[in-house]
């Protein structure tokens, strides 16, 4: 909300206001602490949840903010993971450095695929994203010297974080490390999306011709956003490789791309909170339902999706915001 009142902005507005970003970090850390203390036996699952959340957030950057339809997002996640696996096996074992390796590999994959995908629109764009995803999947299977083929890469053993915190059997270090990375990435992206660049992306999504008519070069912006999205997905892939020690073909699979899209739609496209909510709700629901009913859990997940799409078509985050606003109005009434 750029302009909320007709009055000139007070001087305090000139200062950098970290409010939204700080709130983002606080909420993620608070949720993370709940996870740490309430489900101490599920930290490996929660760590995996965080890596997938990063994938869903990265998808939101192109699909939600730029209107690019894609079903190949896992490719960038996988490229990040494989890059990190190879780097670690080659002797670069510092986890923070490995994060940067994953980020750079993901960004490169994002720029390359974005340069092609964003030239198209609608269904051709979607099909192209699937094709690129399948291509990466096929390469991962064939180039077994780099990827271990269908056996995957294993034996990835990063050194302790900052030389202090070794990765333990209970995933405590892995979980806290992932949580901190998620909080940082999330805060940076919140900032990014409130920037003029972020606003222009939303403008391009709304009407690309209008954006051109105000002098914006649309194509380079979309490619840059794809690169950013790839960087975030690559960080997710890097975390997955660092925290599990293995990278398999599933990390570049079509199923993973499709699931990420489902989670995003579930939570709500076009807001980072929506992406985070979708990733959380979907995976937690899946986890518990699969544990309690191993035979029918897929149908339960399907039912949940149908219910949410019917009752909150714009996603959980938006639905919750509407509900909250209604409750507040009712509460304020005499």
């Amino acid at each position: 909300m750029t302009i909320a009142s007709a009055r000139p902005a007070p001087a305090s507005r000139l200062k950098v206001r970290p409010a939204a970003e700080a709130r983002g970090v606080l909420v993620i850390i608070a949720l993370g602490l709940v996870g740490y203390f309430v489900f101490p036996d599920d930290l490996a699952f929660l760590t995996r949840l965080i890596t997938i959340a990063l994938l869903v957030i990265s998808l939101d950057l192109v699909t939600g903010y730029c209107g690019v339809a894609t079903l190949g997002q896992a490719a960038m996640f996988g490229v990040g993971a494989y890059a990190v696996g190879n780097a670690c096996l080659a002797g670069l074992t510092d986890p923070v450095m490995l994060l940067f390796v994953g980020m750079a590999a993901g960004a490169a994959a994002g720029l390359a695929s974005g340069a092609l995908i964003t030239r198209f629109h609608g269904l051709p764009q979607l099909v192209l994203s699937i094709a690129l995803g399948q291509l990466v999947g096929a390469l991962a299977n064939k180039l077994s010297g780099w990827t271990g083929g269908s056996d995957g890469l294993s034996g990835i053993t990063p050194s302790p974080v900052l030389g202090l915190f070794a990765f333990d059997l209970y995933s405590r270090t892995a979980y806290v490390f992932s949580l901190v990375v998620l909080a940082l990435v999330f805060a940076l992206l919140l900032r990014f999306m409130r920037s003029p660049f972020g606003l222009l992306c939303r403008g391009i999504r709304d009407d690309a011709l209008r954006a051109r008519m105000i002098g914006a070069a649309v194509y380079p912006r979309l490619v840059i956003m794809y690169g950013l999205s790839g960087a975030v997905a690559g960080i997710g892939g890097a975390l997955a490789a660092i925290t599990t020690g293995v990278v398999g073909l599933d990390s570049v699979s079509f199923e993973r791309s499709a699931e990420a899209l489902v989670m995003l739609v579930l939570g709500g496209t076009g807001t980072l909170w929506g992406a985070l909510t979708g990733a959380l709700v979907f995976q937690i629901f899946e986890h518990f339902v699969a544990a309690t009913n191993p035979f029918h859990w897929m149908s339960m997940v399907g039912l949940l999706l149908i219910v949410i799409v019917v009752f909150a078509p714009r996603g959980l985050a938006h639905g919750a915001a509407v509900l909250w606003a209604r409750l507040r109005v009712r509460g304020a009434a005499p």
Binding site: M1, T2, R13, F197, L199, R202, D206, M213, G215
Partner: protein
């Protein structure tokens, strides 16, 4: 003084259909020109050629003396060409204020910034509010575009055009679709445009044309058939025939 905008022998065909044939005219700073003509005369096609949406089949478009015929839309816009559309095109998920501030920030080259929050840019904010105030829609700034009435959307589109501080402004039927009681607001806004801008307006409403234009171009069958003052246009035999002819034909075939 160089013409702000000049067309030299512009032709446009879609397959065998000749939409524009040998159109040439020029706009100078401060011009207020109306482009009129019966339906299907090729007016909007011509505006699309000027704005860069379409490439002409032959001929040249000059902007401040430089050939821009092959330049992309965004580049023309950066040089100072702005337009509005016959059916409003706005950033639908943004607020009215964000729509204008995006144009302001793009003009000032601020949209490359990735880590400074839009809300913190006080001077952008001030410029937007002042602009919206001159158009009488400052109170709508916080509303999403979807909640604006159509007339307000037209004003907002005009605001985006003005926010770009253009040298040439193309208005494609700015009052189209606006309820009659709201047209004076649009007219008022057009009257208050910065005097230096060269404005080319497509319009059907002859009252509006008479009030706005100091010069009229008449397009019929894709050709310019008349150029002169509005008063001359209303007396011109060819113009009458172009307009009345199409109506007379319509009546005969009906």
């Amino acid at each position: 003084m160089t013409d702000r905008l000049a067309l030299h022998g512009v032709f446009k065909s879609f397959g065998g259909l000749h939409v524009n044939s040998d159109v040439s005219f020029a706009l100078k700073a401060g011009d207020r020109v109306a482009l009129i003509g019966p339906n299907g005369a090729g007016k909007t096609t011509l505006v699309n050629i000027i704005s860069g949406d379409l490439r002409p089949t032959a001929g040249r478009v000059l902007f401040e003396g430089a050939d821009v015929t092959r330049l992309p839309i965004a580049e023309r816009s950066r040089r100072g060409l702005a337009r509005t559309f016959q059916i409003s095109r706005l950033f639908a998920s943004l607020t009215a204020g964000e729509n204008v501030s995006l144009a302001v920030m793009q003009r000032r080259g601020l949209t490359r910034r990735v880590l400074s929050a839009t809300a913190d840019m006080a001077d952008v904010h001030t410029e937007c509010i002042e602009l919206l105030e001159t158009l009488g829609i400052a109170d709508l700034a916080a509303l999403p575009v979807g909640q604006l009435a159509y007339g307000q959307q037209r004003l907002l589109e005009l605001a985006i055009g003005i926010a770009l501080k253009p040298k040439v402004l193309l208005l494609d039927e700015p009052a189209a679709g606006v309820p009659h009681e709201e047209t004076p607001k649009i007219l008022g806004a057009i009257d208050r445009l910065p005097p230096d801008i060269a404005v080319l307006m497509i319009e059907h409403d002859m009252d509006l044309v008479f009030r706005f234009a100091r010069r009229v171009l008449v397009l019929a069958g894709g050709r310019l058939i008349f150029e002169g003052t509005p008063a001359e246009a209303s007396l011109d035999e060819d113009v009458r025939r172009a307009y009345l002819g199409s109506y007379a034909d319509a009546r005969r075939t009906a």
